[in-house]
């Protein structure tokens, strides 16, 4: 074997050899494959003879990645046992060879069969979990089956829990996820296109959309941007998100991520496009608007009156979480005259003895709350609540008693923190949290005028921002009154039969 290897090295260099088409000479081809991937300890070569004919064959697979049952029951059994009984009359076998078509069409009881023309192609297929079959006299190798893949059971999505709604969440297996999507409704218009991303380690990525609802230009745009992704490795859909978003300087996420198949499906039914990556339970939805960040699927599952009120509450909470501390700062340090006198007196009374200006006070509390949140997030689950109690109660109480912080500040900060939890999209909640600090600085410098300036600044940014060509604040502006039925308010379903126009152009009435 050593000698053989040397000879080969002299003849071709290794890279060329791996790209050279298979010859059909079993020993030579097998040797090439061995050279390509034989050094891996988890790659198994199983040589055997096709039942009773003496024709040499080998299957090559990665232990653990390939489907053991497929190898044992369908490949080995049909080639070694069933073969000897039935197939000896076949003319090519009688001549001492075997034809690829015959094996493919009459022997192997397997659904997915493709071919590989050279060792390199074969190696990449094997290493991604397929099983290869090499036979003497057959030029190309057959690639059988696909990876069984390791996946976990489907569980309730932990990042987006609902009181009412489906409990099923995406998993890390792309096949399972696309199957989940198909399973949402027997809709023949659901199209799922496959892409490969990653320059060095290839990952499968699919985009899903409704053929009859999605704007073709949008689908084309998504394809273009995905094709432009040029990165070594894509471990999570967050990479894809960052590489296809419109404006990487914006504090707002321009792509929505979700673990919920029902959420993805309803987005598809609005004419949006979903992007699913292998190896992550987080699917991406484009285009998105700001209002989507404040909506929850549950808004539609509950009756309209509670959903309507809860949604209003959520918008209110978002406004508090954005402007709460900054309004407090501006009133306390600039415009005491605008507060009713009694309230002003009591606020000033509690602030007596606090050595810091309101902005410093607010910063201390806000930063410590952010640290608490970040700390609690990474802790092992049983310790989390304990940490919350220690941090929230003890530090807050002690800070007030020590006279560093005024009690009203603690109320404001606590209210703000709770409000920011009411934003259903985690990534959008982070945007609000970040912007809150900016608002606080504006308020500290310019008071109420600063808050107004910040609001104008924020709006100026929002009106410029686009998500895949769709303005980010659709449908607030440009005015689209028919879509306001599902914006801050949520009308009864019977009154809400139209799609959002910005996304979907072909079919404006929901069939129902």
């Amino acid at each position: 074997m050593k000698q053989h290897e040397n000879k080969e090295n002299n003849t071709w260099n290794a890279a060329q050899a791996s790209l050279e088409p298979f010859t059909g000479n079993f020993a030579l081809d097998l040797e090439r494959v061995r050279k390509e991937i034989g050094h891996n300890s988890d790659v198994h070569f199983r040589e055997f003879q096709i039942g009773g004919t003496g024709i040499c064959a080998a299957i090559i697979f990665v232990d653990g990645l390939s489907d053991k049952e497929l190898i044992d029951k369908h490949i080995m059994k049909s080639l070694m046992m069933s073969f000897s009984e039935n197939h000896h009359q076949e003319p090519s076998i009688v001549q001492g060879a075997v034809s690829k078509e015959y094996i493919k069409n009459q022997v192997l009881t397997i659904g997915e069969v493709t071919e590989a023309r050279h060792a390199k192609e074969l190696a990449s297929k094997i290493l991604t979990g397929s099983t290869a079959l090499l036979m003497d006299g057959v030029q190309n190798a057959l690639i059988l089956g696909r990876t069984k893949g390791k996946s976990r059971n489907m569980e309730e999505p932990s990042s987006e829990p609902l009181v009412r709604g489906p409990r099923l969440g995406f998993t890390e297996s792309l096949r399972d996820n696309t199957a989940l999507l198909r399973q949402q409704g027997g809709n023949s218009n659901l199209s799922i296109l496959k892409f490969q991303v990653g320059e060095r380690s290839k990952k499968e990525l699919v985009i899903a959309y409704m053929k009859d609802l999605a704007d073709p230009a949008l689908v084309e745009e998504v394809r273009e941007r995905i094709k432009k992704i040029n990165i070594d490795d894509v471990p999570e859909s967050g990479y894809v998100e960052q590489l296809i978003e419109d404006n990487y300087l914006s504090p707002f996420p321009q792509v929505q991520n979700t673990e919920r198949p029902d959420r993805v499906y309803s987005a598809l039914m609005e004419g949006r496009v979903a992007i699913l990556l292998d190896g992550t339970p987080f699917a991406l939805i484009v285009p998105v608007s700001l209002s989507m960040m404040l909506h929850s699927p549950e808004d539609y599952y509950d009756r309209w009156i509670p959903s309507f009120l809860i949604r209003l509450l959520r918008y209110f909470a978002a406004i508090i979480s954005l402007f709460g501390p900054s309004l407090y700062i501006s009133f306390v340090s600039f415009h005491q005259g605008l507060i009713p006198t009694k309230l002003a007196l009591s606020i000033m009374g509690t602030r007596e003895g606090v050595p810091f200006p309101a902005i410093i006070e607010a910063l201390i509390m806000e930063v410590s709350i952010e640290i608490l949140r970040e700390g609690g997030l990474r802790l092992p689950r049983p310790i989390g609540p304990a940490m919350g109690i220690v941090g929230g109660l003890v530090i807050g109480e002690a800070a007030v008693q020590a006279g560093i912080i005024s009690p009203i500040m603690v109320i404001v900060v606590a209210l703000t923190a709770i409000s920011s939890f009411a934003v259903p999209q985690y990534s959008a909640g982070i945007s609000f949290r970040m912007l809150r600090f900016v608002a606080m600085f504006f308020a500290a410098v310019y008071g109420l005028y600063g808050v107004v300036l910040f609001f104008l600044f924020l709006c100026s940014h929002l009106v410029r921002l686009k998500s895949f060509g769709v303005p980010f604040i659709t449908p607030v502006v440009p005015y689209r009154v028919s879509d306001w039925k599902d914006l801050m308010i949520r009308m009864p379903l019977v009154k809400m039969r139209r799609f959002r126009k910005a996304i979907q152009k072909k079919d404006s009435m929901r069939k129902g």
Partner: protein
């Protein structure tokens, strides 16, 4: 737009009819409306200011109509382009310069008014430049987004302005006295006409 250019975004510089209307309304509801009562009364000096305001509004509308007609006659063209076509290159150019100068000074005036009002009510002691500067920066950031961004921002602000405007109007309902309008034309028509220039200009900030 950083990185990913969109091919499907609407062409720059096109706004819808409702956006144009919103911009106009916001424009009229500018700081001029705050000073309008005082300046016009100073000119007219009779209780007939309300007639002056109505007349001024009508004149502004007529002029607005002329502008609309002109724009319909020369679609896809800006004022600067068709003014040169109508009155010739030199006079048209001069008119364009006048318009530019008018808007330039007007913006400066508006910003200054805003700063004075803010300084008076909210930020006593803050130097005027410190109030104006961040405002202009934000304006600069906004206009780099093009006319579409401006129109959309106006659409966001429009409901807020209307609500505040109505609120202010209805808050003064308590001191509203219809008798104050009399006598109608007590001193003749002449004083009414004196104030027309002021009121028209207050509306007509185009």
């Amino acid at each position: 737009m950083k990185g990913n250019k969109t091919s499907m975004s609407s062409p720059k510089g096109q706004i819808t009819n409702s956006q144009a209307a919103v911009i106009l309304v916001n424009y009229i509801l500018a700081a001029g409306i705050l000073t309008l009562p005082r300046t016009s009364v100073e000119k007219v000096k009779t209780p007939d200011v309300w007639i002056t305001v109505i007349l001024g509004g009508i004149i502004a509308m007529i002029i607005g109509l002329i502008i609309v007609k002109l724009n319909q006659r020369y679609p896809e063209k800006t004022f600067y382009q068709y003014s040169q076509e109508i009155v010739g290159k030199w006079i048209g150019g001069f008119l364009s310069l006048l318009i530019i100068g008018y808007f330039f000074t007007l913006s400066a005036y508006e910003v200054r008014t805003m700063a004075e009002v803010t300084g008076l009510f909210l930020l006593e002691g803050t130097p005027t430049w410190a109030i104006i500067l961040p405002f202009i920066w934000i304006g600069l950031y906004l206009i780099t987004g093009g006319i579409n961004a401006i129109a959309r921002l106006f659409e966001i602000i429009f409901p807020i302005t209307i609500i505040i405007f109505l609120l202010v109007a209805f808050l003064s309902l308590g001191i509203f006295e219809i008798d104050n309008l009399r006598p109608v034309l007590g001193l003749g028509v002449v004083p009414t006409l004196k104030g027309i220039k002021t009121t028209t200009l207050a509306f007509f900030r185009l």
